[in-house]
């Protein structure tokens, strides 16, 4: 009983999935909501840095799914949340990979999305008390 009360006190009230959704939409936001400023800043810098570097290397942003690999790439890209949506809206990213570094850039963008999903799940685990 006491343990449950401590757990609730540590995790706070409110919508339990808010850090997960916020963390997905904006890198690091889930941790910021939980007042984990240092972790959030490092996660945001890592995901944002990787995404921006991917774009700088003329990486491709997946827009549609024509085959299985495209579907996987699109799922990875969607992990970036608003970064992906804004970049698509602004027309950033290459439609076709034309230079060697563009292939690396495409992977950077996909992996940034996957890392952002891991970070968002971590924020959810912190929120539920599964992780300290």
């Amino acid at each position: 009983m006491a343990t449950e009360e401590n757990k609730n006190a540590a995790t706070g009230g409110g919508f339990v999935y808010l850090p997960l959704i916020a963390g997905w939409l904006v890198p690091g936001a889930g941790h910021f909501l939980l007042r984990k400023w240092g972790r959030g800043a490092l996660l945001a810098a890592s995901v944002l840095g990787m995404f921006v570097m991917g774009l700088a290397m003329h990486g491709k942003l997946y827009s549609g799914a024509h085959d299985v690999l495209d579907i996987l790439g699109l799922v990875g890209d969607l992990g970036n949340g608003l970064l992906f949506i804004l970049s698509r809206a602004l027309g950033l990213g290459a439609d076709q990979v034309q230079i060697t570094t563009g292939d690396y850039g495409t992977r950077f963008i996909v992996v940034a999305g996957l890392l952002n999903v891991i970070a968002a799940v971590d924020a959810h685990n912190l929120r539920t008390g599964r992780k300290k």
């Binding site: 972790r39 490092l42 996660l43 810098a45 890592s46 995901v47 840095g49 990787m50 570097m53 290397m57 570094t101 690396y104 950077f108 992996v111 940034a112 890392l115 891991i118 970070a119 799940v121 971590d122 992780k131 300290k132």
Partner: protein
């Protein structure tokens, strides 16, 4: 940007996220992050040498 610089940056960013998300205390986060970084870069160098020797 060189290929090696891309590998190092990839390893750095991924290791930071792995370290923070996979461990609970700051000290263990740093140790795990450094461990992941060394594995990323080390395996890239090792695989590069293997491919170089195979291609010769």
């Amino acid at each position: 940007m060189t290929h090696f610089a891309a590998v190092v940056l990839f390893a750095l960013f991924a290791s930071i996220v792995f370290g923070i998300t996979q461990r609970e205390t700051p000290q263990r986060m740093i140790r795990y992050g450094v461990y992941c970084f060394l594995l990323f870069v080390g395996s890239a160098i090792a695989l590069s040498w293997i491919m170089y020797l195979i291609a010769r």
